[in-house]
Amino acid sequence: MVSVKEIPGAMGLATEQLHDLYFKMFLARTVGQRERMLNRMGKGPFAVTGEGHEATQVGTAFALTPGKDWVFPYYRDIGVALTVGMTARDLLLGHLSRAEAIESGGRNMPSHFSAVKLKIVSGSAPVATQVPHAVGAALASKMRGLDEVAITYFGDGGSSVGDVHESMNFAGVHKLPVIFVCENNQYAISVSVKKQFAVENVSVRAAGYGFPGVTVDGNDVLAVYEAGRAAVERARKGEGATFIEAKTYRLVPHTSDDDDRRYRSAEEVQEWTKKDPLVRFQAWLEEHGIADRNAIEALQAKVLQEVDEATDYAEKAPLPEPESALRHVFVEEEK
């Protein structure tokens, strides 16, 4: 048995945790692929997924305490939702807009995650509107004397939105326990990141808000985890916010309605495919003797079984009653 603590770069994670990291990443990849497949089969009208972002999403979320820390994801964060505790079944029910779809019931679009018990807050589609909510939740944690942390995610396109600036400024002034994660995948739909900001690393903006900003290799799950863990520790200790920019690449079109061949070359996608975070982490695990090929295949088989069962379940689950569309405009009674 190899002691992982002796391995440089393992971040002190135990073997089971490293396996779990890989499992979550592969689960996120597989759920994304499944949703796109179901869309192509004509079963789900829309899919927005995050293949390529797994290291960024799983790595940061792995640093959280699920059910304690607040999570404000954006619509690509399948890996975040699964790492914090939503299941493949939850996501596929959402994809197929079933009555049972957790905290949606067919109202919200797929990948607009929500789970009250896990403090994953229901999201919307206007970009970055969730960011001030994370700051507000962190403010409340601080006012209530709770050592919770709030984390929020947005893309490189989202970084241009005024709400992000207003939120970071607010968090800086009030020194709030919040983590801003920019999943910089180089494109806001079709627009190059070079047209989003004029700096090499958007994380440099943090200096203007009075808290640290770091840029990490978003395809290196352990590097991302390290950045996330440092940010969580900082927030937990009352030292304030952190801005993490994770540089990564979306290996698939923006959504099922996008054709990415319009704006990027096959060669470019091919280059990034070589940096696939899953392939990379698998190689690392094998190289360090933490998981051999059999162990990896066993993890993959477990994921596939879980996603297959989730798909079957979701496909058989009933659609919402049409008249349910009229409910829940207002909270009817104070609880």
Binding site: W70, F72, A101, E103, S104, G105, R107, N108, H112, S114, V116, V121, S122, S124, P126, T129, V131, P132, H133, A134, V135, G136, A137, A138, L139, A140, S141, M143, R144, E148, A150, G162, D163, E166, S167, N169, F170, V173, R327, H328, V329, F330, V331, E333, E334, K335
Partner: protein, 327 residues
């Protein structure tokens, strides 16, 4: 009972509620020092800086942070300094606060109150005079209240703060110090969604809200004494949800309806009232459902002579009553 201005009533409602419930806190621009209208005067001293929090000057963050704090167990009152400055927070109010409960299938909720001074008549020019209520009344998931007197302000603000939904609480700024009214010192609330018949009458039903209630009451007295026309004046007080039953019952009695609002004529909230009367009380009507409102120009130009020309006033309302009475 104590004589209070509406501004004092607004202050007292917040102070009372903050004493009652420590989850409640105020955030906004300049609120720590009492705010530009002094509505939050003394709250910082009484409840501490954290519960009467000065924010950076950024409206989307004020509302967005309030939403986030409400998800984590607090009951924020967000103050927007003037209704004219609320527009940067539109996305947070409409896309987020109003839809969160619905889109999450009734699981998340957003108990926030957004207070803001609105309305013209104080020579505030185009950016300190706007009526914004119709924008928000159009959005399912928001409650919208318009107040212009001390008693209603205190009772409805308490209801707004206690409501588990997002509530837009619009305070007519000209009414802040317009006069004093005896209001109870003890705790009382006014239900959201209930209109009040401020004056009973038999010939015409006049439906209004906000500062136009006072102008309409004045006009009603004038036409009563000069023309013998008896006008029933209904103050909606809440425009979303609004008290259709009260309005329709009155119109079925009088047979005539005049709708008065300060906002621009086209698409103002009075248009919704007029359409509802036309659809629901058609067979009772003895004249056209009539509207008096500001013309479709940006409210309000700065020069007094221009502002007065634009806004409805007791004379214009009295003329409207006479016209409809003669129909």
């Amino acid at each position: 009972m104590t004589e209070k201005t509406m501004l004092e009533a607004v202050h007292d409602a917040m102070s009372d509620e903050m004493k009652r419930d420590e989850r409640i806190f105020v955030l906004g621009e300049d609120v720590g020092g009492g705010g530009v209208f002094r509505a939050t005067e003394g709250l910082r001293e009484e409840f501490g800086e954290a519960r009467c929090m000065d924010t950076p000057l950024a409206e989307a963050a004020i509302v967005g942070v309030a939403i986030g704090a409400s998800l984590n167990g607090l009951r924020p009152i967000a103050e927007i300094q003037f209704a004219d400055f609320i527009h940067p927070a539109w996305d947070q109010i409409v896309s987020e606060a109003a839809r969160l409960h619905y889109r999450s299938n009734g699981t998340w909720s957003c108990p926030i109150t957004i207070r803001t001074p609105y309305g013209a008549g104080i020579h505030g020019g185009p950016y300190h005079s706007q009526s914004i209520e119709a924008f928000y009344a159009h959005v399912p998931g928001l409650k919208v209240i318009c107040v212009a007197n001390p008693y209603d302000a205190k009772g409805l603000l308490k209801s707004a703060i206690r409501d588990p939904n997002p509530v837009m609480f619009l305070e007519h700024k000209k009414a802040y110090r317009l006069g004093r009214q005896d209001i109870p010192d003890d705790d009382y609330t006014i239900p959201i969604g209930k209109a009040e018949i401020k004056r009973e009458g038999t010939d015409i039903t006049l439906i209004t809200y906000g500062l136009m209630t006072q102008h309409s009451l004045q006009a009603a007295e004038t036409v009563q004494s000069e023309d013998g026309v008896s006008v029933e004046v209904i103050d909606l007080r809440t425009i979303s949800p609004w008290d259709k039953e009260c309005v329709l019952e009155s119109v079925r009695k009088t047979g005539k309806a005049l709708v008065v609002y300060e906002d621009n004529f086209t698409g103002g909230f009075g248009a919704e009232v007029a359409a509802t009367i036309a659809q629901e009380a058609f067979e009772y009507l003895d004249g056209p459902v009539t509207r008096i409102a500001s013309p479709d120009v940006p409210i309000a130009p700065y020069a007094i002579i221009l502002e007065e020309y634009i806004l409805p006033n007791p004379e214009k309302i009295a003329a409207g009553i006479r016209g409809l009475a003669a129909y």
